[in-house]
């Protein structure tokens, strides 16, 4: 099991990642984008890579991101607004779907990406700590 653990001034983030695709869904306003932005702005570690809708709005930029992802290895890639990102760039969706070299944290709902139901989680922010609450247990 992989882990994304980091202590920021505002929040301690402690995510257990069960496999290469973790889908974080749940109600609106539970803090998905908040966590994404916190990590993006403050966590200057090269093992993370970030993508959101703004990054793929321009076709040329989306193509560049696709090229970058194809070459990437052993990173944790966090995609916010994943539904809108994939609706805008289906090539990116295909790359993520097939990629087994990186870990993805996908903030989105009912994605077409192949994943196990045991990889579906909701974000929980409580007492200054953000963690993932998985909706289903790991298969035996």
């Amino acid at each position: 099991m992989n882990k994304l653990a980091v202590k920021l001034d505002e929040l301690e983030i402690d995510f257990e990642l069960r496999s290469t695709k973790t889908v974080v869904q749940g109600d609106s306003a539970t803090g998905k984008t908040y966590v994404y932005e916190l990590l993006h702005s403050e966590y200057g570690i090269s093992s993370l890579f970030f993508i959101n809708y703004h990054d793929v709005e321009a076709e040329s930029n989306a193509k560049m991101i696709c090229e970058t992802l194809r070459k990437m290895r052993n990173k944790i890639i966090i995609i916010d607004q994943a539904n809108d990102v994939f609706d805008t760039c289906s090539e990116l969706e295909n790359i993520v779907d097939r990629d087994i070299n990186n870990h993805y944290i996908l903030m989105g709902r009912t994605l077409r990406i192949h994943h196990n139901i045991s990889d579906m989680a909701e974000l929980e922010i409580k007492n200054g700590k953000a963690s993932l609450k998985y909706l289903f247990p790991l298969p035996l």
Partner: protein, 176 residues
């Protein structure tokens, strides 16, 4: 137990949902409303009590002024752009309702989680029909909404039943 009701003449003002293949062609399709509509129509210029209520209930925080909200996690004022995409989508739909232009649009509400869709179905689709589409099936758990799917004859009062039906259609569409 069947908690839907068959459409009658008097039943109006509901949340009308469509799956991808059934989306009406005669409407302006807002694919990413929280980004495009929100900016294009300068939503924050027109915020009123009904928008405040949306932010209170869905975002569970408060508007400080038209450009600022009380940060929910940071406990300090932050820009209104930090609202969740689901909440911003509802503000866009509310704007279209207030401008009397809701009949022009079909909104993508995929960004809305169950709590936002519940609010949309029970609070906003009351004075006017709201037309929308989405790619998931979490409509919350309200028992007091009016949801119609793909112009069907059943109007669902129970959001869970509506979402079950919607998921069935999504799965059928995927199989095809």
């Amino acid at each position: 137990m069947f908690r839907g009701i068959i459409k009658e003449k008097g039943v109006k003002d509901m949340l009308k949902l469509y799956t991808e293949s059934e989306i009406p062609k005669n409407r302006v399709r807002e694919t990413v409303p929280w980004r495009n509509y929100f900016r294009k129509y300068k939503i924050t210029k027109y915020l009123d009590e009904s928008d405040k209520h949306i932010v209170d209930v869905v975002e569970k925080t408060s508007l400080v002024n038209n450009e600022t909200i009380q940060g929910k996690f940071s406990d300090m004022p932050i820009g209104i752009g930090s609202l969740s995409e689901g909440c911003k989508t509802l503000l866009c739909i509310n704007h279209a309702i207030k401008m009397g232009e809701i009949d022009k649009y079909i909104f993508n509400i995929t960004s809305c989680g169950g709590n936002a869709i519940s609010y949309l179905a029970t609070e906003m689709a009351e004075g006017s029909d709201v037309i929308a589409y989405l790619s998931h099936g979490n409509f919350g758990s309200s028992l007091y909404c009016n949801i119609q799917i793909n112009d069907g004859t059943t109007i669902y009062k129970d959001a869970t039943l509506a979402s079950n039906k919607y998921i069935d259609i999504l799965l059928e569409d995927t199989d095809e």
